[in-house]
């Protein structure tokens, strides 16, 4: 192997400065003492018209880019595109997994909802931005570069420690060995070396054993992938692998199961004494129980007012829950009493509109209480009909009573029997 030389090219057998017939000049490597001197030298070389040169330093040097005449990088735009791609792919992945391919109810949350997706989309945005930054920087700098002609110069090893180097390549149009050398010395170089390299393609081939090793490693890397595809394509009676078994077997109590840790042996816990679940306070007597100072109220609770919408709601609810027994007109002749009578039994339902049956005389609060808690054989509907709807039914029953007991003279004009 040849080594580089400091002195002139005159004593070289092949006339190009190298001991080896096959080697030709790669360029000149100049060393500088400080980063500041390197920046100044780079400016000088650039101003002399050189383009094929580069600076080498152990750390990034502020201001070297403008000194070398390097344009601002376009990498940020590429990274922005990478980030947007990450955002889109991350969101698409979650939609496909959670909302399309395998919709799964987790704690009653919607399978597709933006808030739950933000953290993952955020992470994939960062992931692709970072990967674009990393590999974009590689591509822009022509990395990875496992070998460089300057590696042949022992002095160049200092570049990872305390050496600041500027290399001018012989391919530059302005390169003239002696002139360029003088320029570098004038720019403050403490040391200038020539560098030679064997330019023949066969001297640059990657050794065969590296190819072989890479092929084997690629094959090995495909084995896990192949196993995954095999598992997806075939059926097996074996239980699946629990890579993280704590997801499947959790040390926790499930509702309506036995649980030894509690004294009563049950997993379910009752309400704590003295507490009320949110929304279950029901402190308002008039609204929840139809009572005011222990008496049934006569009007509606303060929260409600008589509106056509509330009466309509009451009619709708009445026709669903009450009409099967009490009938659509409230006369107690609903479909169930009729059918029971048809097979010889008796299922009496109170006539809600007959003054003699006593329902008209009941106060609103008592009617509400009857709907909520039942009366005689009628069951309570508190668990099925929300509070406001029960009051709407009370209102509609009043409307039924009024209409069923109206005199002809009370009807609006045009509706009387002629």
């Amino acid at each position: 192997m040849s080594t580089a030389h400091d002195n002139g090219a005159g004593d070289r057998p092949n006339g190009n400065g190298s001991d080896d017939q096959n080697e030709e000049m790669h360029g000149l490597l100049a060393e500088f003492e400080t980063p500041g001197a390197l920046v100044a030298a780079a400016r000088k070389v650039k101003n002399a018209g050189y383009t094929e040169f580069d600076c080498y330093s152990p750390f990034p040097v502020h201001g070297i880019d403008p000194a070398m005449g390097i344009q601002r990088t376009k990498l940020p735009l590429v990274i922005f595109a990478g980030g947007l791609t990450g955002l889109f792919l991350g969101t698409l992945m979650q939609w496909w997994m959670n909302a399309y391919n395998w919709p799964w109810n987790v704690a009653g949350k919607p399978t597709w909802s933006i808030p739950a997706n933000v953290p993952i989309s955020y992470e994939t945005t960062i992931l692709l931005s970072v990967l674009t930054t990393f590999f974009g920087m590689w591509a822009a700098n022509k990395l990875p570069q496992v070998w460089h002609p300057f590696f042949r110069l022992d002095r160049f090893a200092k570049v990872t420690d305390d050496g600041f180097f500027l290399g001018v390549e012989a391919s530059d149009k302005r390169f003239e060995l002696e002139q360029t050398k003088q320029l570098l010395v004038a720019a403050g170089a403490t040391h200038v070396e020539e560098c030679y390299v064997d330019a023949r393609p066969e001297a640059r081939n990657v050794p065969k054993w590296i190819w072989a090793a890479m092929t084997i490693m690629t094959m090995l890397a495909l084995i896990p992938v192949a196993l995954v595809f095999k598992a997806r394509a075939t059926k097996s009676p074996d239980p699946h692998y629990h890579v993280f078994s704590d997801m499947d077997y959790q040390p926790k109590a499930k509702s309506d199961q036995a649980f030894a840790e509690f004294a009563d042996g049950r997993a379910n816990r009752g309400e704590l004494p003295g507490t009320v679940a949110r929304g279950h306070l029901k402190a308002d007597d008039a609204y929840y129980r139809g009572l005011a100072n222990g008496e049934w109220i006569t009007g509606l609770p303060a929260q409600l007012e008589v509106t056509p919408a509330l009466v309509d709601r009451g009619q709708e609810r009445y026709n669903i829950y009450c009409a099967p027994c009490h009938g659509y007109d409230g006369a107690g002749q609903g479909i169930i009493p009729a059918r029971v009578a048809g097979i010889g039994g008796a299922w009496p339902a109170r006539n809600l509109t007959d003054p003699k049956a006593g329902v008209i005389q009941m106060r609103n609060g008592q009617l509400f209480n009857t709907i909520s808690n039942g009366f005689n054989s009628m069951m309570g509907y508190a668990s099925q009909i929300p509070v406001e709807d029960r009051w709407a039914i009370v209102l509609y029953v009043r409307a039924l009573q009024r209409s069923q007991n109206a005199a002809e003279s009370e009807l609006p004009a045009g509706h009387q029997v002629r």
Binding site: T34, P35, G36, H62, G63, D65, P66, P76, F80, A107, K109, P115, A116, V118, P119, G274, T275, V276, R278, G279, L281, A283, D284
Partner: protein, 431 residues
Amino acid sequence: MSATKSIHPEEKFKADKMGSRLFKVGLALGGAFLILSIILGASKSDHWRRFLHAYVIGWGFVMSIAVGSLFFVLSHHVARAKWGIVLRRLAEFMSLTIPFLGIVGLGFLIPVLAGNQNLYFWTEPTLHNETHPLWHHMHHKATWLSPWFFAVRYVVYFALFSGLAIYFARKSFAMDEAKDEAEAFKIWDHLRVASGPAIVVFALTTVFFATDLFMTFSPTWYSTIYAVNWFAGAMLATYCTLALLGRTLQQYGKLQHSITVEHYHDIGKYMFGWTFFWIYTAFSQFMLQWYGNMPEETVFYNYRMFSEWKWISLAVLFGQWAFPYLCLVTRWTKRILPLLMFFAVWQLVFHWVDLYWNIMPNAEWTVVGGHQMGPLAGVPEKHQIGFHAVDVTLLLAMVGLFIAGLGRVMKGNLMPVKDPKLGEALAFENY
């Protein structure tokens, strides 16, 4: 090794009449709008509830800038940052308004002490009855959330904030008078060492301050990241104000050679960064409560998502984050100064909207079943923004008072002229 520069020979770095000019303008603006606000507040017969809430919002707005400026000073010392040295004195001036803002804050602290029960719901006396539905939420907080203890903590917070601000500003002023470079370096090194423990004190004070003053508006609601979110908004507002203050001084011929586009570029980077940190904390709070779905937490968002306030929520999301975030991502926005100033004003406006969104929904109290249940009770759909002119006039009054307070302390040099690292700050360039 780094490049340095000396102060430009024609640089005007003396405050001269800037201080008294700002003081007069601020006092006129603040005084006029304060009187107008008092008239508006008195004409709304709600026992000053709207007025006091708007007062805390406006006051919190300027207070966040003062507190953020203190952190600017501390963080630059602790990191030995050099680029911001040309701006440090301006931040020191802004942090010196803290004692004055402590006095302005008496405008709502005294009513609370005097028994006005319309600002903070925890002052409601019936909460101490065992029959009150919220008693079991509140009884263990009764001592902490009592007016006298609240006032004691208020005084402690302001003593700590003011102490830090005055200490770091005085030492920095002393640097201007240093006899030689060795003495200036000694002070510089001393401030660097002191800033470490000072940041710990600052962080704890800020967390307790923000939690006490702003989070206790909904005393049964919990969020551990609330104070961090408040701090993020404060820092965003601080950098925006620094940009505007620097530009304003330059319009009057001051610091024209010292604050360069490179420094504005860095302020822009911080505006971008804090914009993101703000949404990061705001979304963390939202998402955890949305996912956890516990009634005592979701109640906060229930009233901000399913009432008229949803429009303000969306305005904050897009106004303080999405739009400025996308625009500030590029290098040009930060280096074209009119654009940067536009976003500084924009973000300050939305910082106020953010505080408004945080606090004002708590101004509507509801009586349920004969009990005063305070804010965030009743039917969300019936919750209204109920915008009132006093909301804005008090903001302008507080901004005026802040400018007046800033003018009062703006004396001597507008930058630390003898700071040993000033040369590096003047030569600062973004590569």
